[in-house]
Chain length 249, copies 6
């Protein structure tokens, strides 16, 4: 697939990601935190360790990772309602939780729970996939504190995880859709993969349109290429010094 | 892919559907209704026409199709709680709604809403895909009443829609997983397609496992073969006389 | 009271029940289940044993029987809202619970709870009384499994229970009102009794009308005659082989 | 039935009411209000006129009367939870509403709603029947203001309404049970009747016990005698001058 | 500050309280109760002892005092909605709780909770301050029962607490505003103080207006003078015999 | 009052503010937005214009300003629960709304509503006062867009508004308490004032302690001095160029 320069709103090629900025340790209280910017989309993520697990998991010697996702009222045009999670939010937070659990051996985590909170500060499409990519960084930080404190002896994390969207717009397959592209897309697919390039989750939908087996294959290939670049951004972020709360302003 | 007889709980081949029974017109009040049995899974579906559409759609001359999904308390082992839809239920009913809207030209439906209620009477895996397959039949019936009454002049339905699950269990790709197979699956994928074999929605997840591009292709192919058989069951059901409420007992 | 043939919508005599069909063991998961059809009214009932009792009963060596009642959205004309139980539903499920508890010695049940779920699939009047009549069959089945497994040594059930409605329409006392008769009734009375013909609960209301002591006596007498026939239907059902899930379609 | 002096907690005869005090116009804001004391049970009732009716009644030229019932936290031993109405409360307020609507020709009320709020200040059994008896007085007051202001030309009230409980305790039929008697009762019956002695509602329940046709007849007769005295108390209250807010302390 | 006679709705001087009536032991069930009338404002307060404390306080050997506040639907013009506490109610009940806790040494109370329920029967301004003034009396009564039963050995109450409102209306500082004055006030201040005249809480607000440091000083001084008189009313009430439930009517 | 250097956690004098950073236009969608940092406390504020007002204000030609306040789960130690606003949150958002309405002539705003959302990203005490100080900047920005678009002709804003906390810790009066100081404070007071130094709201509370008239005067004076500096920070922020979304990372 050639990366055409023309046609995309911000001049990107069809297979190009938006500008990615990724910071870690941006909050004082949670054990892990990250801030991600993908183009105009900004998501703040925290990972908090709780030394209690849900009742249904007790006594199995296993831990749990769960996620919550919400949009700040000012993150969208026309203000979103504050309060109970919508069906959309619940669907997204279940996806984020499943994706992050694929990066960790829950038995090695011990009987504790890590809650990953993803709050969208500014929304321009791709907020769920950005949440997963930054969520991995925050989770990695939280697990580090467990290792450093000696609470767990062996690193439970088995792989990195990232996510990206891909879609078909006017017959062309595009990577990392912004809001306007997403609104016009015939098919929209969110893909989660490990750092090794193995698929973890595929959610493709063509509301009002259909797509072929071959289309699905092409979209997945492009998404995997994009996630390879996200993996490198995660590695750079985790190797660089903590951003500190100062990065929030 | 060879259809192995051994290995499946009920002796099916890996590419075989469970026994499908599909009835229509099983309720007296709704304009459309259907009952589907896929193995032990039983779902009762009704389609009710409401001459009002949600506020955000008013004045556009378009209709809407929405779905609700719930499980009766006695449909599962240990009784499910009655009441507010869980995150899982909301995710499923959003999927059913999107799938069914792919079968219909909403502009031709006029400013009305069809609500498709899917209630699981007995659950043995595949309840969301069974809901879509039977939901199409109930929706088709409801639309027929609009055509017969002259409320709409032109048939808004553009295709049939069905759905099926496919998964990887012990390295083998299996069609139409029952509950026990689903519990042991490494990868679980729900696929929705049109009667013409075009993909409408793909949701594949490997909680605790990963899958390759090639695996995804093989799973989609097997799912499409299964849905071809479901399409024929839908056609037979819609051509046969109404079951009538008597069919419920 | 003569049983007049003329006058009733379906040609019944004033003291005749609608056609009753009653099946048991219609679901795979719950310990007890039943399906009842009284004319067009269809109710699916399950009885699930929970080895925990409410906190306020703990430590007394007694069990508890409780009921939940809901209508499927497609069971009525115009679709009923799904979700939280209405005031009407709560009133009905409290009635069903009280009625079924009258059939059982809670001390002999041991510290466990049986939840009887009544879901109306199709509604044509008399859904609360049909729920009680079928609820007894499901409860009886669930208790049998406790006896057969040796969980309890002595049968805690002391009597059978059934229920029926009776009402005054245009000055005439009618048994087992269908929806249309109920809508036109001057007085509506729901009566619960034991198999021995003793009264357990009487709820008579004349919204917009009144009735005399003598009317109340006549209505109760007719109701008791109707419940005698329901008792026989319950006995036949419990003696016949299990319907099996197949009966649902 | 002889009125035995011995045996009742407060020395009453079996057919005697507790001491009844009934005041009207005890609040400044609502159009009607009443305070009733039956023994230790104290209920404060207000009747507020709203010039809007529920959507489902609009355009029919008819009014509506509805009731709400709650217990103040301090009205019972151990404090009742404040907040959402329980199933019991909802059942009671539906009963109060039905009972009061039997006293009024809704067509003559015009398109307005009267809300009757019943708040139990101190509870010693019989709160629902006391609410109905005082509710009639408050409703009567509210309707008077409509007549006096000329909002309606013709008196819509067709009868007075009162209510009382009756029960079987240790084989004896007792009128107007206090809490302790109610706790020990084998059968508990709440009866609503018009001033002319016609029955409006009968709710008899024998949790854990049964009763005969003859018992039901005896209980109804005793209840009607009690309500005849309540009718006179209502008449005296409505003829006497307004108590004024001063009566509250 | 001169106390002008003219200008106030009821002819009071600017520094005069409304007529105060305060009764105790007005309910049978709670360990403490009080009824206060300040002009037309009537609040019924109960104090219930619970031998359990909130989880976050367990094991510290300390008790807790909390308050709930609500208005009966008929206490205001146009009827207030029953149900969940509004933001205003929550704010008020938090204030009442803080104020009452200032009167008691929680360590000496032992691990138990006293819940003070304040229900407004008739509202004419100043309901939150009246609730605090009567709340102290009910709390004092409940603590007395603990002392009398020997449940606690040492009196935990360290001071009395009362509260009053003060405001600026048309440039003049007025004590104890009734509803109509409150509606027209430029500044409204609620003040809580101990019997010794020390401030416990000050909440002054000038919606749509502002006030100076000097104004705040003058308002606080007048409030302290008013509370000195409330302290005396509390003392008289606590020394006089119990009103008994009879006082409610 | 001398500004002592010793004694405060961060070496500030008793009358010194923490380091204040204030940015505007930090979000793309809302008409106004601001980010404030006071020491470690970080609050993101947006102001959204809605061309509808609440029903109770319609037809009066006036506008409305309302506020919502919430803390992100990761803003505090131990993670705060997401979801419905707590009593504390509701109290705070009512305070913010009242404070901001004091800065604006609602009649000149026209029939529209401005919603000011305050979300705490990192909490170290003083979040409600920081919300008010930044809320004024966001509100000012939103009103500017109305003036620039010609939607309103005359500037409705009549003054600037800021807020700060002051308290007594170990007998010393301190300005702008951080979380640790706030936890140890004997008296805590939140003060809102206009740019001209007039008081708008005073909320002083001494949970477990009391304070004198003289203390209240000293605290108010110190708070007014602090707010004079906040006013200057607001002026500088509003005169400087927009920070742009880039400032968020």
């Amino acid at each position: 697939m050639g990366e055409r320069i023309d046609g995309r709103i911000d001049g990107r090629g069809s297979g190009a990601l938006r500008k990615v900025r990724l910071y870690r340790s941006v909050l004082r209280h949670p054990q892990g935190s990250a801030l991600i910017e993908m183009g105009h989309t900004v998501v703040l993520v925290s990972a908090t360790i709780e030394e209690q697990i849900p009742p249904w998991l007790r006594g199995q010697g296993k831990g749990w990772v769960t996620a919550e996702y919400d949009m700040l009222p000012g993150s969208v045009s026309g203000r979103s309602q504050r309060g109970k999670p919508s069906g959309r939010s619940q669907e997204i937070q279940r996806l984020i939780g499943r994706a992050l659990r694929a990066s960790i051996d829950l038995a090695k985590l011990g009987e504790r729970r890590i809650v990953v909170d993803c709050d969208v500060l500014d929304a321009d499409g791709g907020t769920r996939t950005a949440s997963i990519t930054a969520g991995y960084v925050a989770l990695r930080e939280a697990v580090r504190t467990l290792l450093e404190s000696g609470a767990i002896a062996e690193d439970p994390m088995t792989t990195s995880i990232s996510a990206v969207s891909v879609g078909m717009v006017d017959g062309e397959i595009l990577l990392d859709l912004c809001y306007e592209e997403d609104s016009r897309a015939d098919v929209d697919m969110n893909v989660v993969a490990t750092g090794a390039g193995d698929l973890v989750e595929v959610q493709g939908t063509g509301e009002g349109n259909t797509f072929s087996l071959k289309d699905s294959q092409s979209m997945l290939k492009l998404a995997l290429r994009g996630m390879d670049r996200l993996r490198r951004a995660q590695e750079r972020c985790l190797e660089s010094p903590a951003a500190g709360p100062r990065r929030l302003i």
